[in-house]
């Protein structure tokens, strides 16, 4: 059986996924609380409700960052 390795860049850190993961599953695997972050996939902000339906692809660049509200 052939394994497909998916290489992604999460906050500029290369990571390999052994199986296709949704953006939501990726955050869960990283123990990141979804309610406190926004997510940019390949330079586009992805609305939170779509995270469960988008799968990570090879060479995806994903930035996850905390919401900042101070002023």
């Amino acid at each position: 059986m052939r394994f497909v390795v998916i290489l992604i860049h999460l906050n500029n850190v290369p990571q390999t996924l052994q199986q296709p993961l949704s953006l939501q599953a990726l955050l869960e695997a990283q123990n990141i609380s979804q309610q406190s972050v926004a997510l940019v996939l390949n330079e586009t902000v992805v609305p939170r409700h779509r995270w469960s339906s988008i799968l990570c692809h090879h060479e995806d660049k994903i930035d996850v960052f905390a919401v900042v509200a101070g002023g």
Binding site: T44, V68, A69, G71
Partner: protein
């Protein structure tokens, strides 16, 4: 509206000298300076962001500015809220800011409200911006320090079809973006990025902040606001619009993050959430109407 306000605006000799460095820019010119004179900017929050943005905008020749904040000046504000001094401690920020800006920018008509902006009070508070907003010469700067206020302000901007320029900073992280339901509806709104159930772990009170990083964000916010006001008559955009050098499509629907440690900026494209609890329901009703009025 008063007879004075109905007068055709013009620049006198002193204005030409005062604003000469702006007028020299082909992107501004005499027409642009006159355009700024007819603009009305609402600034919610007179802390580190709001004060500096207000100072830049008032001194740049924005015709009217409304300042809204129910906070009072505190000693711990002084390292980054540079318009205030120890003598102002205990006084309402919005009222002190109005008084000081009136000296710095005598051409600017200033309004100050020492109260919280709520959805209930917003109608009367923003009534005097309505005319400018209909003429596409109004916008709102969100300079508040908490997520609840930011959510209320976004909802307000959606309901009033008011362009929103939002900046925030805590610790070494800054965020900035502009959304406009009339000119670039595909960019969505604040709730599309940060829905109502968002938890904000960072604010200046519990994370700390350096004054200059607040200044960077406030300067960018003011710069973005001026450019959006100058380009208010540009055509409506969608994601198929090809970016042109210096075009407004680079300004609307972009989300910038600033890392104040490495001094690096990152930008990403905003997208409208088709299931957004705030802008999606009003899309057909309000935005379509606003689009019609823009097309007229």
């Amino acid at each position: 509206m008063s007879a004075t306000a109905q007068k055709r605006p013009s620049l006198d000799d002193k204005d030409f000298i005062r604003y000469s460095r702006q007028i020299f820019l082909p992107e501004v010119g005499e027409a642009g300076q006159l355009q700024l004179k007819q603009c009305h900017v609402v600034i919610i929050g007179c802390g580190g962001l709001g004060l500096l943005a207000a100072q830049y905008l008032a001194c740049a020749g924005i015709g009217s500015i409304t300042l809204v904040d129910d906070d009072r000046v505190e000693l711990s504000n002084l390292p980054r809220q540079l318009l205030f001094s120890e003598a102002d401690i205990g006084q309402h920020k919005a009222l002190v800011a109005k008084q000081k800006l009136a000296v710095l920018a005598p051409n600017c008509q200033l309004f100050a409200f020492a109260q919280m902006l709520t959805l209930d009070s917003a109608e009367s508070l923003l009534a005097h911006v309505a005319t400018a907003n209909r003429q596409q010469s109004a916008l709102l700067l969100d300079c508040t320090d908490n997520l609840a206020a930011r959510h209320s302000i976004n909802q307000l901007c959606i309901e009033h079809a008011l362009p929103l320029v939002s900046a925030s900073i805590a610790a070494f992280n800054g965020q900035l973006f502009a959304v406009d339901q009339r000119r670039f509806p595909a960019g969505g709104c604040y709730h599309c990025v940060f829905p109502n159930d968002t938890y904000a772990p960072q604010n200046c009170s519990n994370q700390g902040v350096l004054g200059p990083s607040v200044g960077v964000m406030a300067s960018m916010q003011a710069l973005l606001a001026i450019q959006l006001l100058l380009s208010a008559t540009a055509p409506i955009l969608d994601h198929s619009t090809k970016p042109q050098a210096g075009g407004v499509e680079h300004l609307l629907g972009q989300f910038w993050r600033f890392d104040a440690k490495s001094l690096q900026w990152h930008s990403a494209r905003l997208t409208r959430d088709s299931e957004c609890e705030v802008c999606a329901p009003s899309w057909n009703a309000n935005t379509a109407q606003a689009l019609k009025s823009v097309h007229k």
